[in-house]
Each structure stands twice: as structure tokens, then as C-alpha cells.
Amino acid sequence: MLFVLLGWRNLWRKPGRSAISIAAIASGLFFLILLLGISVGLKEQMLSNGTSLLQGHLQVHHRDYLPDRGLYDLIGGDQDALELEALIETLEAQPQFEAVAPRLYGFSLISTGEQSAGAQLLGIDPRLESRVTSFLEGMVAGKSLTPVAQGQVLLGATLAKELRASTGDEIAAVTQAADGSLGNELYQVAGILKTGLSHLDRVLAVIHYRDLQQLLVLRSWAVHELALRIERPELADSVADELNQSGLLPVDSLAQGWGELAPQLRDYVGLIDSFYGFLIGFISFFAALGVLNTMLMAVFERTQEFGMVGALGMTPLQILVTVLVETLVLVSLGIGLGLLISFLVMQPLSAHGIDLSRWTGGLTMLNTRIDPVIRFGWAGKHLVWSVIGMVAAALLASLIPARRIARMDPVVALRGVVEGSG
């Protein structure tokens, strides 16, 4: 298009100025992407801490299981049967699921003899569990290849203190089994868990799920919950919907994403999300100021020139478009450069992130070994909106000089400079 060629040539009449403008736009975009990147990184870390500690990104239960967590509301309970291994295999075979872990829950009295306390028993499959959640990494005492084998138990830190129990001790668990009898068994304390969540550390006792099935007199397919990990946790709710429709789950089951299971977390994340829009808007405005400045100069030092083309027959609309296209070319070059630099810089930042330990020192949040590293995140949506934002802001800004010059009477324009540029 002629206009584009014109715009291009006009830009390079003042190479210094154009270069500075392009640099401004490029740096604006670059920093915008960085700032968005770090916000995304922080959000994902928060999400990660909130969900992959114990909850998992999605959970599957019997429809009636929550919120009361009835012992008899097992997955597949309505049919009184479940191909548990097959179900887990099928789910893992789906591309969107990275890992699946089954859980069984029970409430029981646990005791060292003289010290007793009520505890929440969590039965896990130790091979599968750490592929979905990270709470087992918070083991502060005890070490073994399988975190908890059959016959063993892991106690929450506060619970262990209350019982005056430590690794190697033996505890008894007593509960009312599913058939009404008094289930009781001995387990050896294989480790102490510190999740950092006080309401868990106070009641949690983790055993092998087969042990719990035996204790509760339930059959080998009995589980209350499947926890799943997916690649993009922010999509959990829609993945859960898909799963529910897919027919892979038993008829009486329901899959839910973390958004439904922990609405407070979703709200906090939503807070951070709404911040992005503000950021994009602000930086676009900043960049637009620069564009405004450049275009004001670029236009008004050529007032006579515009006067001439106007006198020669160019319509005001065409003049307007000329200016806008020139702006567009300028902005495109800036954005192109900005994107290039961003790609280069974001690669290492999203792969390795920034280590915050220089500022924060060692941290003991959530488990004993947390690395305060923030990985930057790329979000396609952000990129699109950033570019749109900047282009729109720039075009709007350039409307100011564009309209002025387009409205100007060519005769007046021909006469001379309106605004001093020196």
C-alpha cells in the first residue's frame, strides 16, 4: 500500500527520533511482558502451593461425598464395585492428566497407650501420591524410599507432639469399621509430616490405603477420592467438566477442579488476574505518551508539506490516514523489536526463574525445603492484549496531531510552521 511506503519513508527521514521512539515502544512492551510474566509466575506459585500440596488440581468423588465425607460414599459405591486399577490407568492414559492418586479417609482414635487423640486417617498409595501432591516432601523426620509402607504411619507434627510420639514408636489406631465392628491395628511411626497448615498438622495421620481398607473392613477397590494433576492448573475447572462428560468415570462420580473445591483460592487468584488489565492499560498509556510526542513533532514540522499535498488534492481523510499509518508502522517496528527482546529474555526466565533467596533468605513456608524461585510465565492471552493495548493507545494518541493537521486549511499550512520544533 502506498500509504505504508510513505509512512516508512517518512519515518526514516529523522532516523534518530524514530529510533528513539521505536526503542521506547519496544522497551514498553518488553517491560510489560516482564511484569506480566512475574505476576503470572507469582500467581502460579500461589496456585501451586495451594493445590499441589495436598489437594491436587482436580478431585473425583462420589456425588454425595462432599461436604460430609460419609464413610460409605465410595467412588463406584452405587454399583458396589469399581475397577480401580483400570480406572487409574485409563485416566493416566489421557493426555491432559499427568498423574492420578487414590485416597481413602477415616476418623479414628490413635494412641501410644497413655496418650491418645482423635486423628484423621488418610490412606494413600505411596507410589502414586507424590506424583500428584507434594506434602510428602514435608517429612521432617524419617526417610525411606517408599514414604509409608504397609504397617507404617506418618503423623502430623502437632499430632505427634500431642501424642509424645516419634519415629520408630508404635501407635494403635481404633475406629468403627464399616461393618460396625471395632477396627483396631498397630502401626509403626515411619516419619513426621509438617505441611505448615496447622489444621492438618494437628490431626493428620497417613497410612497405606490398603491398610486403611483392612482397618475399616472395606474391599480392595474402596476409595473415597481420586486426586489428579494436570499440566495447566488454571484450566482445572474446564478439564473437570470435560471429564464429567467423557463417560470415563463411574456414573455416580463427580470431578471438580480446585476452583470449585477451594473458592477462596480462586478469588485470590482472580484478584491478581484483574491486576493484569490495569497493568496493560497503564503501560500502554505510558507508551502512547511517547508516541504522541513523536507524532506531534513529526507532523508539525512538515506542516508545509501537508499543506502542499492538501492543496494538490489530498483529502483530509487521506491526510488523517497518512498520519495513522505512519504511526502504525512506527508502532509495529517497536512491537516487533519488543517481542524479539522479550522472547530472548523470557526463555531463561521462564525456564529457571529468578531466585529470590537473596532478598528473602531461607524460607520454611509450607514445607521445610522451599526454594523462593519465581518462574516467569508466558500467557498468550496477555501477549495479544498487550499488543492490542499498545497499538490502540498509540493510534488514539496519534489521532490528536492527525486530526489537527487534517482539519487545517492547506493555505494556512502552506504558510509555515505552526509549532516550533527548535
Binding site: R17, L35, S39, L42, Q45, Y268, F286, T360
Partner: protein, 413 residues
Amino acid sequence: MILLRLAWRNLWRNRRRTLLTTTTMALGLTVLLVTLGLGDGSHLQMINSAVRSGSGHVLIQARGYQELGGVERTLSGQQRRAVAGWVLEKEHSFGIIGTAPRISASVLGSSSDGSVGVQLIAVQAEAEARISRFAETVAEGEFLTSKDSGKVLVGVGVARKLKIGLGDKMVLMGQGAQGEIESIVVRIKGLIRTGLVEFDQVLVLADLATGQDFLQLDQRVHQFAVLLDDMNLASPLAAAATRAFPELEVLDWQQALPQLADFIRIDDGGAYVFHFFLFMLIAFMVFNTLLMSVLERRREFALLEALGLVAGQRFLLVLLEATLIAVLALLWGMALGLSLHAYLAMYGLPLDIISTSELSVAGVAFEPIMYSSLSPARILQAMIVVFGMSLMLAMVAARRAALAGDIRLLGSH
């Protein structure tokens, strides 16, 4: 000085350019102030919420209580009086707003519909009303007064599980300080909703005397929570208390609530990086505008050189211009930034459009409004950073201006 007057007039000769540069700097300062304010504000809110829900800024208790708990691990009547007296002495020097003695124990709460494990917290009603959040979280009924022996407030989760409401009775049973199992009957005076679901499911709040009677504690208490006006005095007060009472355990809020302290540190870390990049952005933008103006004015500088101004003087001229602009920008940025901050400090940023349920993070519930909070130190920090950066950039630009004189430019147009 002639140069100064020249600088000033130069500013106003090209209003567009001046406006642009000033706006860029001012906007940068404004955004910095607002993001710092909201960030600090939200942390402060969380800390306030947390300390007023239990730990106070400083917690004084019997040695070993934090780790092991135990109903019998108390401050004796004498220790209690000593601490109360000491706190009174220190009231002015540390800005102590109030102090609240507390008892807490895990007991069983029963109604005709079942039983549930509860956390009994017994407090001195008036002191508590002054310093803690509990009085504000009453969802139904009324807060306690010290005449309310035998009356309690329960969390909404407790009420739901036991199917009890205002006026109903509940039996509390637990192990007393002598090791015997004790039980009492209490009546519900009100329901509490703190916003922390796990807490609302176990909380039972009673008057101090009721708790002491129930658990056979006479005049003893488990904890003394002290609330301050300025949270930065928490550590010094804790240190002073440790020296005064070496046989007791003294914690500041960071030690009492490590989860919250860690969350704030991680958040701060992230914020540091964020502000760093924001700052870089502002710097770039300002630099761009400065460079632009130097570029534009090449002819002007060539003219000045021809008129006799040497490089050093041209340098100083640009520097003075930039300083003046920076001062203007500072004033404008402060005005805008501080007024936004004032608005946000008063009315806050409402978050209810985004949040549907009660907000809680790191074990602390907070209201869905974010308030801004800026300490004088912070404001000064922002000012110095922006001003300093602007000047430094101006010097770079000024150098270019000094070198830019080229007689040949005078000819072309």
C-alpha cells in the same frame, strides 16, 4: 544565574515537550506510590487481622506452651499480676493499645444432637473487645461482657454441627488442670463468623472466669496478648519482655504466626522484583523523552555554541532544565499519587466484584477491601528513587547535549 533563568524559560518555550517529560516522570512516581501503598496496605491488613485474632503483636506465655500446649502450663496468679503491671508501665513508651489475658483448651462440646471437638478460648470481655477482631465478627447475637458467666459465643460451623442457636445450651467436657475430667453447661449468646472456615468449625469463646472455673485454673491464665499501635515495636517489646521475665516464653507475631510471616516475605520478594522492573520501565520511558528532546534541540545547541556557550555550560543548562522538570514532576507526582493514596487509604479498593466468598490466605481471613498504607519512609523512598533516577538519566542526556553542537546544523532547515 543566567543559566538558571535560561533553563526556566527554555522549559516554557516548548510546553509540549516539558509537559511530556514531566508527565512521564510524574506518572511513574504516582504508579510507584500506588502499588507500594496497596502492597504495604494489604500486608498490614493481614497482619492486623491476624494479630487481632489471637496472637497480638507480642504474646507472653509459660515456657514450652507454644510447642507443647497443655492445660496445666499456665502463668501463675502472681506472674499474671507481674506481667500486667509491667505492661502498664511500658504503655507509653511502646504505644500499647491493650492487653488481653487468655485461656485456651481443646475440649468436647455436646448438644442433644451430637458432639464435636472444639477449641475453647476464654477471654476478658472488655479487654478483648478493645483489642481483638472477635467483637467485629459476631454474626448473630452479641459479644460477651464480663458479667456473662456461663455464656459463650460459638463459631458458625460449631453451631451448625451441633444444631444449636442463640439461647440453646451446650455441655463442655474436658480435662482440667488437676487432670480430672470436668464438665459444665453453657448457653449460646452469639455466633461468630471469622471467615476462616477451619476456625469457625471449632471456636468457642467464653468469659475468662467461666473458663477458669471450668478448667480448675483459679486465677491462672495461659497467655497474655499485647496489642500495639505500631507493629514495628513488636520485636523491641518482645525483647524487653524476655529480659523482664526470663522464666516465661515471649513471642512476637512473626514467631507466633510463622506461616503468615513467611507468606509476607515471599510476597515481598516477588514485589521487589516487580517494582524493580516497574522502575526500569519508568527509567526507560523517562530516558526516551530526555533523549528525544536533546535530539530535537540539536540546532538550538549548535546555536548556543555559536553564541559562545561552551560545552560545560551547555551541559549545566540541560542539567538545570532536567532538575527543574524533575522538581515539577515530583510535585505533581506526589500530589496525584498521595491523593490517590489518601482516597484508597480511606475508602479502599473494593474487591467484592471479584471475590464471592470470604477471603483467606496463609491462615488469615481478611475483608474484601484493600486499603493503601504508606509510611513516610516509603514515600521518601519513592521520591528519592524517581528523582535520583531522573537526574542520573538527565546527566547522560546532558552529556549528549554538550557534545551536540555542530555548526553545520545551523544551516539546514
